[in-house]
C-alpha cells in the first residue's frame, strides 16, 4: 500500500498558507454580529420611535390627566386625552378572552397530557396548530359576520359593535397558546411523579389535580400571562368587531375601544400631521408596549423559576 503520489499533501500545505482563509475567519463573525445587532436596533428603534413622539405628546397634555381622565375625545374643539377608556376596553376584552381561553386551553392541555392516547394526541395537536395559524383578520371576519349575529340572537340588547364578541373570538384564538404551553409544562413533570401517585391507588384525576398541576403550576401560570399579553396586543379582531366608542363603561354588550384599535383608527384617519392627536397615537402605543413588555417579562421570570424546579 504505497502512497501513490497525487500531490495531495503538497496542495493541502499550500492551501493552508493562504491568507484569505484567515481573513474569512475574522470577517465572518463581524458580519454575523452585525446581523445579530439588527434585532437590538429594532428594539431601540421601537423604543425611540415611541419615546420621542410620546414626549411631544406630554408637552401638550399633562401626564396626570392622560393616566387618570376617563374622557377621551381627541378630535373635539376642546380635546381631552384620557387613556382610561382604552385601558378599560383593553382589559375587559382581554378578561373575556381569558374566560374562554383558560378553561378550554387548560382542560385541553390536561386531556392531551394526562388522558389522551398517543393516537388522539397525534390527531388533536396538529388541529390545534391549525387553529393557532389562522390569521387574526380571519378571526375578525368570523367575529363580525358570525359570532356577533349569533350573540345578538341570544342577547337582543347586544350592540352591533360590542366587546363581548371579539373577546370571545380572541379567547378562541388564544386557546392553542394556553393549551400547548400548559401541556409542555405538564408533560415535563417527570413520569416518576405520575407513577408514584398511581402506585398509591390514585385515579388519573387525583394524580392530575394534586400532583401534576401543582408541580407544573408556574409553567401553567406563565402560559396564562403570555395569553393575556397576546390578548392585549391583538388588533384586528377588536378593530373589526368592537367598534370605536371611547366611552368609559363596563357594559360588555356595548362598543369599546382598545389601545390597539385606537392606533388603527387614528392611523387610518388623521395620521397626516403633527397634531396632538397624532402624538397621542404614540403615547397610546408606548403604553401598550409597556403593558405587553411587563407581561412578557413576568412570564419569562415565572417560567425560568419553573425550569429550576427539577
Amino acid at each position: 500500500m504505497v502512497n501513490n503520489n497525487l500531490g495531495v499533501k503538497e496542495q493541502i500545505q499550500q492551501n493552508l498558507q493562504k491568507r484569505n482563509k484567515r481573513l474569512m475567519e475574522k470577517a465572518v463573525p463581524a458580519l454575523l454580529f452585525t446581523a445579530a445587532f439588527i434585532s437590538v436596533l429594532t428594539t431601540i428603534g421601537i423604543v425611540l420611535t415611541l419615546v420621542f413622539d410620546t414626549m411631544q405628546f406630554f408637552r401638550h397634555v399633562p401626564f396626570w390627566e392622560f393616566f387618570t381622565s376617563t374622557k377621551l375625545s381627541p378630535l373635539s374643539r376642546e380635546p381631552s386625552f384620557g387613556i382610561l377608556p382604552l385601558i378599560n376596553g383593553t382589559i375587559i376584552s382581554s378578561l373575556i378572552a381569558m374566560c374562554v381561553a383558560i378553561p378550554i386551553g387548560l382542560t385541553s392541555a390536561i386531556y392531551l397530557s394526562e388522558y389522551a392516547s398517543e393516537r388522539v394526541r397525534k390527531l388533536v395537536k396538529p388541529m390545534m396548530e391549525v387553529l393557532a395559524g389562522i390569521p387574526t383578520i380571519v378571526y375578525g371576519f368570523f367575529a363580525y359576520s358570525f359570532v356577533t349575529p349569533l350573540l345578538a340572537y341570544i342577547i337582543p340588547d347586544l350592540g352591533a359593535k360590542n366587546v363581548l364578541s371579539p373577546g370571545i373570538v380572541m379567547g378562541i384564538m388564544i386557546i392553542p397558546l394556553v393549551a400547548s404551553l400548559s401541556e409542555d409544562a405538564m408533560s415535563s413533570v417527570p413520569n416518576s411523579m405520575r407513577e408514584g401517585a398511581l402506585a398509591l391507588g390514585a385515579t388519573r384525576l387525583e394524580v392530575t389535580m394534586k400532583v401534576i398541576i401543582p408541580a407544573a403550576i408556574s409553567g401553567i401560570i406563565a402560559s396564562f400571562v403570555l395569553a393575556v399579553s397576546r390578548a392585549i396586543g391583538e388588533t384586528m379582531i377588536v378593530t373589526i368587531a368592537s367598534g370605536s366608542s371611547k366611552n368609559f363603561t363596563f357594559d360588555i354588550t356595548e362598543s369599546m375601544q382598545t389601545m390597539t384599535a385606537y392606533i388603527v383608527e387614528f392611523t387610518s384617519g388623521d395620521a397626516g400631521s403633527g397634531t396632538v392627536g397624532y402624538y397621542s397615537l404614540y403615547a397610546v402605543g408606548f403604553t401598550l408596549f409597556v403593558f405587553t413588555l411587563v407581561m412578557n417579562l413576568i412570564a419569562q421570570y415565572i417560567s425560568r423559576k419553573f425550569r429550576e424546579a427539577y
Partner: protein
C-alpha cells in the same frame, strides 16, 4: 388610508414623457386632446368620506377605461383630516364636504401655497340625511327645529340624556342614542356650524370615524339616530329609514329630486368639493389628466352614488381653469 407621501409620484414624471401611442379607448369622452399618452404614476386623494363613493367610482372608471398605468388612490379620512394632509403637500386632491376654512388657507400660505395654486371644484350636491332604525315607526317625520333641538346640548336635559318623549310626549319614553361622524369629517362641521349654528352638540353623542360603523350601529339600535350624507343612506335603504324633514312647508323626503340649491330639501343641501393642488397638476401629467376626467365623469356618476349633479356651466368654468395650468 393615510400616510402616503407624494414624494413617490415625483419620480414618475419621466415615464410619463414617453410618447407611446395610445392603446386606451376613448369611451364617452370628447376630450380636446387629439392623442392620449400612456400615463403612469400615482394620484393621491384623501378627505371626505361623503365624497368617497363618488370619487372612488370616478377613479375606478378612470383606471379601468382611461389610464390603466396610473394608480389613483382614494382615501376617506374625512374632510378636515384631508386638509391636514393637503396643506403640507401630501395630497394631489383633497375631497371635502365643506368649503376650505380661512385658517386652513392661512396654513396653506405658511406652506408656500396660495389659493391661486389651488383649484376648488364643486363636484355635486349632497343632502344631509337624518337616519333612524327600521323599527322606529314614530320619528319618521320631524320638523327642522325638533332636529336642531334634540341635538343641542342642554336643551332638553342638563346631562344630555334625551328621551324621545321629551320631543313629543306621545313618543316612547326611551333614551335617544345620538350618532354622527366625528370631528375629522366635514359632515360634522356642516351639522355643527350650519345646522346647529355653532352651538354645542349633546355630550352623549357617539361620534365615529367610519360611516360604515354608523350604518351598522343605527341599523341595530331601535333608538338610534344619526346624520350623514345622502349617499350612505341610498345604498342602505333596506337597513335605514330617512327622516322626512319639515322645513315649514310640510315633510320633505331627501331624494335626488329634492336635493339642490333651489329645491325643497335646500336647507340641508350642501355642495361637495374637491381641491386640486395646482402645482402638482403642472408637474405631474397624470394629475392634470385625472382632473379633466373628474370634471367629465362627476355628473355622470353623481346620480348612482347619491348626489345631485352640478350644472354644466359651472363645470365648464373649472375646465378653463385647468386649461390655464398648461
Amino acid at each position: 388610508g393615510g400616510g402616503n407621501n407624494s414624494g413617490g409620484n415625483a419620480g414618475t414624471n419621466e415615464g410619463a414623457q414617453n410618447n407611446t401611442p395610445s392603446t386606451g379607448n376613448n369611451s364617452a369622452a370628447n376630450s380636446e386632446e387629439p392623442v392620449e399618452e400612456n400615463l403612469s404614476g400615482a394620484v393621491i386623494i384623501d378627505g371626505s368620506g361623503t365624497v368617497y363613493p363618488l370619487m372612488a367610482r370616478i377613479a375606478e372608471e378612470y383606471m379601468s377605461t382611461k389610464q390603466s398605468g396610473v394608480s389613483v388612490q382614494v382615501g376617506r379620512a374625512g374632510s378636515s383630516a384631508g386638509f391636514k394632509k393637503f396643506i403640507p403637500g401630501e395630497l394631489d386632491f383633497a375631497d371635502a364636504s365643506r368649503p376650505i376654512k380661512d385658517e386652513e388657507i392661512e396654513q396653506l400660505a405658511e406652506n408656500g401655497l396660495t389659493m391661486d395654486d389651488v383649484i376648488e371644484i364643486k363636484l355635486a350636491y349632497d343632502g344631509l340625511t337624518m337616519v333612524i332604525n327600521k323599527e322606529n315607526d314614530w320619528a319618521t317625520e320631524m320638523t327642522k327645529d325638533e332636529i336642531v333641538n334634540m341635538y343641542l346640548s342642554g336643551h332638553y336635559a342638563a346631562d344630555d340624556v334625551v328621551k324621545w318623549s321629551d320631543i313629543r310626549p306621545e313618543w316612547p319614553e326611551e333614551e335617544i342614542k345620538f350618532y354622527g361622524p366625528n370631528e375629522n369629517h366635514g359632515t360634522y362641521e356642516f351639522f355643527y356650524e350650519v345646522i346647529l349654528e355653532k352651538q354645542d352638540l349633546v355630550a352623549t353623542a357617539n361620534l365615529q370615524q367610519e360611516y360604515s360603523t354608523l350604518v351598522d350601529l343605527v341599523s341595530k339600535d331601535k333608538n338610534a339616530i344619526a346624520f350623514f350624507g345622502f349617499g350612505y343612506y341610498v345604498s342602505n335603504t333596506d337597513k335605514l329609514t330617512a327622516v322626512k324633514v319639515d322645513f315649514g312647508n310640510g315633510p320633505v323626503e331627501p331624494s335626488l329630486e329634492t336635493i339642490g340649491e333651489d329645491l325643497a330639501y335646500a336647507e340641508f343641501t350642501r355642495p361637495v368639493f374637491t381641491y386640486l393642488n395646482g402645482q402638482y397638476a403642472k408637474e405631474k401629467p397624470q394629475v392634470l389628466d385625472y382632473a379633466y376626467y373628474v370634471l367629465e365623469a362627476a355628473p355622470q356618476f353623481a346620480g348612482e352614488t347619491g348626489f345631485a349633479p352640478m350644472p354644466d356651466a359651472i363645470l365648464a368654468e373649472y375646465k378653463s381653469q385647468l386649461d390655464a395650468l398648461k
